[in-house]
């Protein structure tokens, strides 16, 4: 089919909205006007499943009960590093109610030795962290499984271990892996680059710069040319994902194959990995996720627990439920790596950047992916940029992708250093960003134009003009305002597909394997179909979360809405064409003459259907070499924080956040706002409270619960004001994007900059606990005495 040229909206609504020409395949739907000229899209739309969720009617994986279902309990390592000499499961197998026992033979997740022979022959996977799964027991009740699991005897040969990142870096530290180790990435990002040099536990440095370079320009020359150089070292902690619903599955291995009810961000990715690990054709594995209680990047694969449940089901010939408990969740299925970043920035007197050098290390436990240099590379264009990142292996649970991998930690240091630069230059922090945050002409993916507008809106909402010099308040409570910026990348998943069906009775269904992890794709799909077909969202039946339907994107990297909704719109458009054809109505018909109500009953067949897959971006993908799946324009986002710091107790209270964001064309502002609230709350909780505490002497996580693993509660939540801009770039038939990740990148940095404005001191380590705030304030407190 010949391509056609169409004119689509381009620009920011209310600022510079115009049109741009795009050449697209002829079967694409007509251009979609801006939201103010649409009836469904861009209108706040309550979640179709909201009532089911708040009444408890929604069935999550944890709620699945099948006839004859067994309950499984995993037996986990109590040592941080050991070889297993032998395992005695005989008492467990004889215990009342036990139906099957299965021992892990190959470990999923984390890094693996490039050359497994370096470790010598081993009957069982070598234990490298406390909580590593070893085997599982399935029994007729959860209590029976728990009791039986306690009867398993494991004979360990303990090995030297190290859990502290600073100790692990030292020459002569106990080795987590006896040789070089690599980890593959996951669908949600995360994992480090492969083939990086490794010395001891330190894997790196991996050198990189903007535009996929190994470093841009020459940073030393850049610093030599600078009038001013600022630098600082910033530390961030390990954060666990802490989704309300833990990882888990109900696996049912029957004659027709394997059915898995999974709490996952990717029905397709679970299906693929289960098929691979269990050596089954993909068609024999069906994965279902009707409702899902949060993932934040850690829930993509089959998981050791998932494979165990499948094997137990195969052995016991019964469905097996295996949901992790909170301790297992904290210890063994992922976390955000720690980081220690030394940042140097050089600039001319007018603020023009001459060099950015970002050197970091951090630990992803037995995994890789502790890099945090994304913001340093991609937020502010600069002629000389070098990022050097290292992973440090420790005997701790492997990290996993976590909501904007590397970016909250990278922004925490970078945005504070930019504020330091502003202070040193005597320029207002917002004015400096206006000067240096400009679109890089070498990159088609940049978000400076969006952030420029966002800074202006945010400054007005927070009343930036009332910002005072540090420590202006009398009395122990000091208030301050800070700002920080976000960026994230517009990834597109090209396997995103769906089918739209129209029945002769006028009923409409849309089907995709995609899962709704809380972002609201179920409702967005209904909105897109409704807009295209001229009906109401509640008139569309959305069937998702089942690999029996056309493949959906895994929900990671903020890809779901931007990847899937163009396919949904295209399928709806084509289904309507099919309907008109089936009813003998000319394709040129419009208005009521083309309506489903009128036309569907006249179809000569019972049902028409159309299938669509996400294609190339209109205008092609962005970046050098047109990187496949990298959309035009990145995501921005600017957040302002207002804090109150009690300088006598060191307690920081966030009183207000103004979050100004872009996500292309917002489809459901209600859901977008809700997700930004979540990103801000998670970012604030990261800034002030969350912290995995490991016992250095034993490798045990001491706070693997919600009591001492501190998460922001109701009284910690500030006033959160969300302002959305509509940013059209003519990227696809919906021009929509995601918001999950950009919404959490800037929060901790904005809070830290506000703490500095309140008190005049920088807190360079997360979380900003009373202890750390008091330590940072100590010189001042001494002076006041």
């Amino acid at each position: 089919m010949a391509d056609v040229t169409i004119r689509v909206p381009s620009g920011i609504a209310g600022v510079d909205l115009g049109e741009v020409e795009r050449t697209v395949p002829a079967d694409e739907p007509p251009p979609l006007p801006p939201n103010d000229r649409l009836s469904v899209l861009g209108k706040p739309t309550p979640r179709l499943d909201g009532r089911a969720k708040v009444t408890g009617a929604a069935r999550y994986t944890a709620d699945v009960r099948l006839p004859g279902m067994l309950f499984a309990r995993v037996v986990r390592s109590t040592l941080p590093h050991a070889r297993i000499r032998s395992i005695d499961t005989s008492a467990a197998e004889r215990a009342p109610g036990v139906r099957a026992v299965h021992v892990v033979d190959h470990l999923l997740g984390g890094a693996h030795l490039r050359d497994p022979k370096q470790e010598g022959p081993a009957t069982y996977p070598v234990v490298r962290y406390v909580g590593q799964p070893i085997l599982a027991v399935a029994a007729v009740s959860a209590a029976a499984a728990d009791d039986a699991a306690r009867l398993v005897r494991i004979d360990y040969e303990p090995l030297p271990f190290v859990v502290d990142v600073e100790e692990a870096r030292k020459p002569g530290a106990p080795l987590v892996f006896p040789g070089a180790a690599d980890q593959g990435g996951s669908a949600g990002g995360g994992g480090g680059p492969a083939g990086v040099p490794q010395t001891g536990n330190v894997r790196g440095p991996a050198r990189s710069g903007p535009h996929g370079s190994k470093g841009l320009g020459d940073v030393e020359r850049g610093f030599a040319e600078a009038d001013v150089v600022v630098e600082g070292t910033f530390r961030t902690q390990v954060q666990t994902h802490s989704a309300m619903e833990t990882h888990g599955v109900v696996a049912d291995w029957g004659a027709d194959g394997l059915t898995v009810y999974a709490s996952t961000q990717g029905t397709s990715t679970v299906r693929d990995e289960m098929a691979e690990v269990l050596d089954l054709p993909k068609s024999k594995v069906r994965v279902l996720t009707e409702f899902m209680g949060g993932g934040f990047g850690a829930k993509f694969g089959a998981g050791n627990f998932g494979v165990l449940a499948a094997r137990l089901s195969q052995k016991a010939k019964a469905p097996v439920r295996l949901m992790l408990d909170r301790r297992e969740e904290h210890e063994s299925v992922g976390n955000r790596p720690s980081s220690v970043a030394r940042i140097r920035i050089g600039a001319k007197k007018d603020g023009t950047l001459t060099a950015i050098h970002f050197v970091s290390y951090g630990t992803a436990g037995t995994g890789t992916g502790a890099g945090a240099g994304g913001p340093a590379k991609n937020l502010y264009p600069c002629p000389n940029v070098l990022v050097e990142e290292s992973d440090v292996f420790t005997n701790a649970g492997p990290a996993a992708a976590f909501r904007a991998p590397g970016h909250p930690q990278g922004a925490f240091g970078l945005e504070q250093t930019i504020d330091d630069l502003a202070e040193k230059l005597g320029i207002d922090p917002l004015a400096l960003r206006d000067r240096i945050d400009v679109d890089d002409p070498a990159e088609a993916w940049a978000a400076a134009s969006a952030r420029r507008v966002e800074r202006r809106i945010g400054a007005e909402k927070i009343a930036w003009s009332r910002r005072r010099p540090p420590a202006s308040d009398r009395g122990p409570v000091k208030r301050g305002i800070g700002v920080a910026q976000a960026l994230w990348y517009r990834f597109v998943n090209l396997d995103s597909a769906c089918e739209v069906r129209i029945g002769r009775d006028g009923s409409v269904e849309v089907l995709s394997a995609v899962q709704d992890i809380g972002g609201g794709i179920r409702t967005a799909m209904a909105q897109v179909v409704a807009e295209e077909l001229g009906i109401r969202p509640q008139d569309v039946v959305v069937r998702i979360g089942d690999t029996a339907f056309p493949p959906g994107p895994p929900s990671g990297g903020s890809v779901t809405t931007g990847s899937l909704t163009p396919a949904v719109r295209n399928a709806a458009y084509r289904a309507k064409q099919e309907m008109l054809r089936a009813a003998g109505v000319p394709g040129t018909a419009s208005g009521d003459d083309a309506s489903i109500r009128r036309v569907a009953p006249r179809m000569r067949i019972e049902q028409v259907s159309a299938h669509a897959v996400r294609g190339d971006d209109y205008g092609g993908f962005a970046g050098e070499g047109k990187r496949r799946g990298m959309g035009i324009g990145a995501y921005g986002g600017v957040q302002f924080a207002e804090v109150a710091v009690d300088v006598e107790t060191g307690v920081v209270k966030v009183e207000r956040i103004v979050a100004v964001h872009d996500c292309g064309r917002p489809l459901n502002p209600l859901a977008v706002r809700s997700q930004i609230h979540g990103g801000v709350i998670q970012g604030l909780s990261y800034a002030l409270y969350e912290n995995r505490v490991l016992d250095r002497a034993s490798g045990w996580m001491l706070n693997a619960n919600f009591e001492t693993y501190k998460i922001a509660g109701a009284r910690e939540i500030p006033s959160i004001e969300v302002h959305l801009i509509e940013e059209y770039r003519g990227r696809s038939s919906t021009d929509a994007g995601g918001i999950g990740e950009p919404s959490t990148v800037a929060t901790a940095a904005a809070v830290a900059n506000a703490v500095h404005n309140a008190t005049g001191v920088r807190v360079r380590e997360l979380p900003m606990t009373p202890e750390r705030v008091l330590t940072a304030l100590a010189p001042q407190r001494e002076a006041m005495r």
Partner: protein
């Protein structure tokens, strides 16, 4: 958890008869559930007290003071107008503990006999002093939330937020066993820090707390409670302070009781802080001196030295609040 028998006695006598070395009494069950799940206790029998009549009353006995039944929930104490008016620190402590959900379940009796929240204690893996083991793992381990006073043996802090104001206000507990009832000053109820092992109170295996008694406050007296935590929702105190004061006709403080919580294996009496207040008006200057005095004798560990600054601030604030209440 290990399987156990559930019993529902309908009278105090029946409950006492069911108690013994292999039984555990259950009131709200909040702490007990955690202990059972982690296999820190494995009783053959639970004795549910919630059907036992007469143990859930708050009785204002005028000049005889207040008598609180052990099954009264923290939520009811926090909401009780009499408690708030005359024993303010107790009401404030009850109202700031844990979460609304927990306060609706947790009882004052259970609050006083909770086990330590030390994370080493709470993991079955660590055979610490309080579980009959030989060492305190927190001493050289992760101890940011641990004791800064009296931490020579066990470093855990006492978990009861109610004990802090109850001690400041001179409470006693009535203990009943099949052998009869005895009344013990609350300060004697807790095993001294140096001797803390598996047993942490005077309570015998077949004995129950049947009442908590508070003397009537004197004219011109007042109390205040300050909880300093990292978070305001669902968090344990880093430091808490209860102050009770009497004032004479000139306005000067004639008697002061300053109790600190979350800083020692038992609630900690800050005697030097009390001395700094007696004979002086309750003002910014005396409050500041009391705060400074309160940290005397502290022996912080590697990670918890920051608590001293919090103690100073919290004592100062509690003294000023009590002074305002006494006006």
């Amino acid at each position: 958890m290990k399987t156990f028998a559930w019993t529902d006695p309908a009278s105090l006598g029946d409950a006492l008869a069911l108690l013994g070395p292999s039984s555990i009494a259950k009131a709200g069950g909040v702490d007990l559930m955690d202990l059972l799940k982690e296999h820190l206790v494995a009783p053959a029998r639970l004795v549910n007290l919630l059907r036992v009549p007469g143990l859930d009353r708050i009785e204002d006995r005028g000049a005889q003071g207040l008598r609180i039944g052990p099954l009264v929930t923290l939520a009811r104490i926090a909401e009780d107008a009499t408690v708030a008016a005359r024993w303010r620190a107790v009401a404030e402590a009850a109202g700031h503990a844990a979460t609304p959900q927990i306060r609706n379940m947790a009882t004052i009796g259970g609050n006083l006999v909770q086990k330590p929240r030390c994370w080493y204690y709470r993991l079955e893996q660590f055979p610490c002093l309080r579980k009959g083991g030989k060492e305190c793992f927190a001493r050289e381990g992760e101890n940011a939330y641990h004791a800064v006073f009296a931490n020579e043996a066990c470093c855990a802090v006492h978990p009861s937020s109610l004990a802090t104001p109850l001690l400041a206000l001179g409470a006693s507990v009535e203990l009943t066993s099949p052998r009869g009832a005895r009344t013990v000053p609350l300060e004697n109820f807790f095993v001294p820090a140096r001797e803390l092992r598996m047993r942490d109170t005077l309570l015998d295996a077949d004995e129950l707390i049947t009442a908590i008694a508070l003397p009537a406050p004197a004219a011109g007296s007042a109390s205040a409670y300050v909880k300093q935590a990292q978070k305001e929702s669902y968090d344990w105190p880093l430091v808490e302070v209860a102050v009770a004061v009497d004032r004479g006709p000139t306005g000067a403080c004639t008697r002061a009781s300053v109790m600190l919580g979350a800083v020692a294996p038992n609630p900690w009496k800050a005697r030097a802080a009390e001395a700094a207040l007696v004979g002086r008006p309750l003002d910014e200057a005396s409050a500041r001196d009391a705060g400074k005095a309160a940290v005397q004798g502290a022996t912080p560990l590697r990670d918890n030295g920051y608590k001293l600054a919090l103690i100073e601030a919290a004592v100062r604030r509690a003294v000023i609040a009590a002074g305002e209440g006494a006006r």
